[in-house]
Symmetry: C2
Subunit: 374 residues, 2 copies
């Protein structure tokens, strides 16, 4: 006897079967072997700090206990460092989780969220998931077009404006003062969701001065990048108290891994390690830039842990991505024009950078990408 | 200059500021000291298996990488053990996460979900969070009242029926055949969400036979209890393919901790450890039952890792909870009548069981709970 399927909620029933990212593991299963060089997901090859590793190891024996759903110690440590209170801090399973909370807390079905065309797909995924509509603003000169984003928010009556600064997938950034001007120009009902995943890598002055009590903005940060803990799933938001309280009404209270909490706290205090990672990443960016220049290819300036290499055409970058894959090198390529002429390469460790340089040189030569410089 | 708060989404704006559980850490901060005996959250004092510990330790160095969003290896291992396919398996950050997915995927605002009065509060939290309405059916003789639950689902046009078997917070259970009958009696549009968090501790025959292709049920299980990994946040659902696909449209794809994935896989294969935990928990339940009987107090039969002790009146259990807290012992007490006469005590390790026995004996004697037997 067969039984009738249960009807889905309308919002979910209407959604297409898409995923924000195809994971490297899925690509590996499709190609029938592991990548030799995994420099496509902006993960840290340097991993967690020695202090964070110790904290995780020390926590294993107590994995039987749930983590503190308030992340009390971590929120207080963060608040102290940021000169605010724990009531302004929300901890969740990475920025992805926080973007979901923002979409859920601020979008009614049919509401508009503004973002750049080709920006972080997981934000878009959550907007669709809660029935919101996306309005996408093209990049301008490979940077987020701040005036056009504000203009779009005004014209569409948007309730959310997403901005990553420094940006992903371009790596470009605006000085904090420009973000402050954007905030001042925002229409009254619109919230700025400022994604600062890459803030640790950015030059002084990139982080805007925003009062944690300012109800116009939520800024989100992560331990996935400079702190080398992407697999741990932990990030945080700085927001006004009512926004944090709104998250508390819907968030997964026991959602954050207990070892991740301990490791995040330890990692914050291991400042020398983070400084070392940031310096090493800067060195790696320079290597990639010189490598590309030596092959006659331009790169975008980057304040992140990756470099976007300009393959001139969508066909060129697509061919480069495929050829690198055949060489066992995992990189990503933005899909939306005009960014689709880029490939995005994460700064690996020395071995990975060397292996990437060799493979990329072969690929560029074989595909004749250099010759098109003329 | 002050700025206007951004309006919240209606669903979130309408929610009260409640949390599903006050955590032991929050209670400890309120009382100004750690509990000496943490037997209130049904956590495993035995922690993860040796194999799972090893897997976690071995994963620390690669915490820089995101986990596989498909949990491919774990889903295939689970599917093999359950005689089904990976397309019937969903992995998420514990049962809490899965209950949220079920509420989101199957409830439109205003829809009814049926549950027992006093059952798992996090299910209720998610139902409210997605705008659903709860219909609660009182326990009958300290067990879920299966015919009344079905009847309520019919009368209210419910789209979800929640059942924990074995049950929390009572510990009682129904044989699988009774759950199968409930499933057959469900109205056509209603989905059974079967919470089997405690299935590992239950007697043979407690798990109903449900075809994984059956669209009428989603069963959820966890590594938080017998597997001793509550802090890792990992659990899974067995459901028909369209339901798993619906979860895929809205779930947090990169939400599960990478170490948790590795540890869960290792733990599944460490069957001797799980068998030892289950035996040790059975021994602990017997100790609690004898302890209570010796004090003139009844206990409910339990197929879980905890025992509900009957303090006869709500006043009695409330006083016992408070007095145990003063002794540094953390237990929980159901809030809803008629369960509010119970305290719920998790099976601890030998030290904890001994410490609980001593503290509880003092408390019962001091409060005169024994004398009321007459």
């Amino acid at each position: 006897m067969t039984h009738a399927p249960r009807p889905l909620a309308k919002l979910v029933d209407d959604l297409p079967a898409t995923v924000p990212f195809v994971a490297p593991e899925a690509l590996e299963r499709a190609r029938g072997g592991e990548f030799q060089v995994r420099v496509g997901a902006n993960e840290s090859p340097f991993g967690p700090s020695p202090a964070a590793r110790e904290a995780m190891a020390a926590s294993i024996g107590r994995t039987g206990w749930y983590g503190d759903p308030d992340s009390h110690d971590l929120r207080h440590e963060l608040a102290g460092r940021l000169g605010t209170t724990a009531a302004h801090m929300a901890v969740a399973s990475g920025i992805d989780d926080l973007l979901g909370l923002v979409a859920r807390a601020f979008l009614d079905p049919g509401d508009v969220a503004v973002t750049s065309l080709g920006a972080y797909p997981t934000f878009n995924y959550h907007v669709h998931g809660y029935g919101g509509r996306l309005h996408r603003v093209p990049y301008r000169d490979d940077r987020n077009d701040l005036p056009a984003l504000v203009q779009a928010a005004k014209e569409t009556g948007a309730r959310l404006l997403y901005l990553a600064n420094p940006d992903n997938p371009t790596g470009t950034w605006w000085p904090g003062a420009d973000v402050e001007r954007l905030l001042d120009a925002l229409p009254d009902r619109c919230l700025l969701i400022l994604d600062e995943a890459y803030a640790d890598f950015a030059p002084e002055g990139t982080a805007p001065r925003i009062d944690p009590d300012d109800p116009r903005a939520v800024r989100v940060r992560t331990f996935s990048k400079a702190h080398g803990m992407a697999g741990a799933r932990i990030g945080y938001a700085v927001a006004s108290e009512p926004v944090v309280a709104a998250f508390d009404r819907v968030r997964l209270h026991f959602g954050v891994n207990r070892m991740a909490q301990a490791a995040a706290l330890a990692s914050l205090r291991d400042e020398a390690f983070i400084a070392w990672v940031v310096a090493e990443v800067a060195r790696g960016r320079d290597e990639y830039t010189r490598l590309a220049a030596g092959l006659g290819l331009a790169t975008l300036p980057s304040a992140t842990n990756f470099v976007a290499i300009d393959c001139r055409t969508a066909e060129g970058s697509e061919a480069a991505l495929a050829a690198l894959g055949e060489e066992g090198v995992f990189v990503r390529r933005p899909q939306a024009p005009p960014l689709d002429r880029l490939i995005r390469v994460t700064v690996g460790d020395e071995r990975e950078r060397q292996a990437f340089a060799e493979a990329f040189t072969r690929v560029v030569t074989r595909l004749g990408l250099t010759q098109k410089v003329g």
